[in-house]
Symmetry: C2
Subunit: 352 residues, 2 copies
DNA sequence: CTGAAAGCGCTAACAA
DNA sequence: TTGTTAGCGCTTTCAG
């Protein structure tokens, strides 16, 4: 019978190990630390005790003592969304590659929850907090996000916006974005080049920056050709399959005239495609269809979806690398990743 | 100029706050703790200091002192897989609901990595470690997993197997599974009831328990009807879209005779569907097709995929609830969740 | 090479 | 109501 729960398996401490090996706690610490010179006899005895007790140093205590495993946190709305999942994957991989632990939090769109979580991460002394995914760019958003940024910065941490609306200058944030407008421009230019002139746009929420960027690209591509799209062809909804389905069905019912449709996201495109099928329309025979995001499933639709590729994983990886590669003197960084069209089978020429 | 980085925003400690408020550290602790009686004058001064310094107590230190936020970890192969994502979502939501922080780790199938991570979680004193998703049930798997289970148990933590092969009796694990065989049985029975007699099975890896369960169901459904499926109709691959595509194309090229096909997963079904389309075959007109998992995208395929619903989110939620709801005396639990067929449009009657 | 002692940031038992 | 003193589990001077 020993004083502590030596054999019982419970959490044994460094002192238990020391006692069992007949040395001091410092010695155990040194053996486990690796670097420090220790006589091989002692080392053996200590290691044996460690094994016997199945001892693992408490990471939290190490952290307090200043030698913990660094941690990084990321926050997203819902890991179930394919593009979120891709970014999360990038974040997670890069974080572990750089030896960091990864804390996650789904907000389900709840702003309060997001705030609370960021505060917890500050308490955890997370090296950085990455906010993943789009949001509405309102004054309230900016104020709130700015507050989080300052709060983290003042605690020696860092806020990273990954695919989110930038804050004004002066905010201590790192932002990694991608080119929504450019991708949409290229995509719509491609469609116009196929001879289409009435292109329906199934957009997202009006105040969502991602949706806005894509819409701007749609407009710009028209203007670049001297075209002026019919405002009636610009529909708004959100980024879900249901929204695409509903919008498309409505357009069809209203007898809207168009030969191609561009959806704000691949999910929206999937919903629209279903509606098209239900109406007995052929894609791309009767109407062409394109999406945005290039989620893995885009290629599984029939016909395989022409869309815009967004380097989501890379976005996540870069968010981590940029945030962790900073020194206090590093100026705030703002990266913009490129996007490009992936031509598959859902867009055809007019009258073909 | 004060001694510490009071205004500079750096990490201020409870002592900084105490000094600024002219009280002792314990008083600050009590004010922040909430419960303890403190004169409202002091409380105000302390709160002011806290605000001025933008102070947040170090969660790691609290943890060492015995009052930390509990943490829970989950490990999966790749968050990008739709069913993994669903389970992760369930885990995450339930964990935060129960006030736990959530650590994640993707293993990318690397066993070493998984082991390392579990060890880290033991060091972090995670309340439980949830291993999510199927695996090959080899002797090596059992030994390794058993070791992890013992190691965690001996540290007062807990290993949870969520949708993974059970260990033999006596292992300190909680397992939450779902009924692979039952679902496959029901699905294939449904298909046979439509008059199909030659049903191709696009299976997964031969030693993967999930794949095995589904295959058993396929076989059992035949036998229940006094049928004896042609062994040539049993193909093996893995759980990817590519596997489904490859297998299907091969079957078609070899002139295999069948009127329906059951894929081991919806992903496999998606690949198979593409191959069928490429071959100019109509689904379900020429051949019927069914999947397994009921991932969200199953309904976006055309035709919408008939499949087996697996309550993945629920699985994740239950894993957490079961693991955290334990006392040391709780017997090891083993839950088996039901699955059911979701009839959509990809299966038709023979000759229809 | 090894041990004693101090310290990390916080809480809690004990006095006052 | 408040301050003092231990103590959580670990690391790291500082002396031998």
């Amino acid at each position: 019978m020993t004083r502590k729960s030596e054999d019982a398996g419970g959490r044994s401490t460094i002192r238990d190990v020391a006692a069992r090996a007949g040395v001091s706690a410092s010695t155990v610490s040194r053996v486990l630390g690796g670097e420090y010179p220790v006589s091989s006899a002692t080392r053996t005895r200590v290691m044996r005790a460690v094994r016997d007790l199945d001892y693992v140093a408490d990471a939290r205590a190490k952290a307090v003592a200043g030698v913990g495993t660094p941690t990084l946190a990321f926050v997203l709305e819902d890991i179930t969304g394919p593009s979120f999942a891709l970014m999360a994957h990038g974040v997670e991989r890069e974080a572990t590659r750089l030896g960091h632990l990864c804390l996650v939090c789904s907000t389900e769109g709840d702003v309060e929850h997001e705030l609370e979580f960021v505060e917890m991460m500050r308490a955890q002394r997370a090296a950085a907090v990455i906010l993943v995914g789009g949001a509405a760019d309102t004054a309230e958003y900016r104020a709130r996000t700015r507050r989080m940024a300052d709060s983290l910065a003042s605690a020696g941490s860092r806020l990273v916006l990954c695919g989110r609306p930038t804050l004004g200058a002066g905010a201590p944030v790192t932002v990694i974005e991608y080119d929504n407008e450019g991708g949409a421009f290229a995509l719509v230019a491609h469609i116009l080049a196929q001879g289409h002139r009435r292109v329906l746009f199934l957009g997202g929420k009006a105040d969502h920056t991602t949706a806005q960027g894509r819409e701007r690209g749609y407009l710009a591509a028209h203007r670049a050709r001297g075209l002026d799209p019919d405002p009636a062809l610009l529909l708004h909804g959100d980024f879900t399959r249901d929204s695409g389905h509903r919008l498309m069905r409505g357009a069809l019912k209203n007898g809207l005239d168009f030969t191609a449709v561009v959806a704000a996201t691949d999910m929206v495109a999937a919903g629209a495609l279903t509606a098209l099928h239900e109406a007995g329309l052929e894609v791309p025979g009767d109407v062409s269809l394109a999406g945005y995001d290039d989620i893995p499933f885009a290629r599984d639709l029939h016909p395989a979806l022409t869309t815009v590729h967004v380097p989501y994983e890379e976005l996540g990886r870069l968010a981590v690398r940029t945030a962790l590669g900073r020194t206090p003197e590093t100026p705030d960084e703002h990266l913009l990743l490129g996007t490009h069209v992936v031509v598959r089978d859902s867009v055809g020429a007019t009258g073909s």
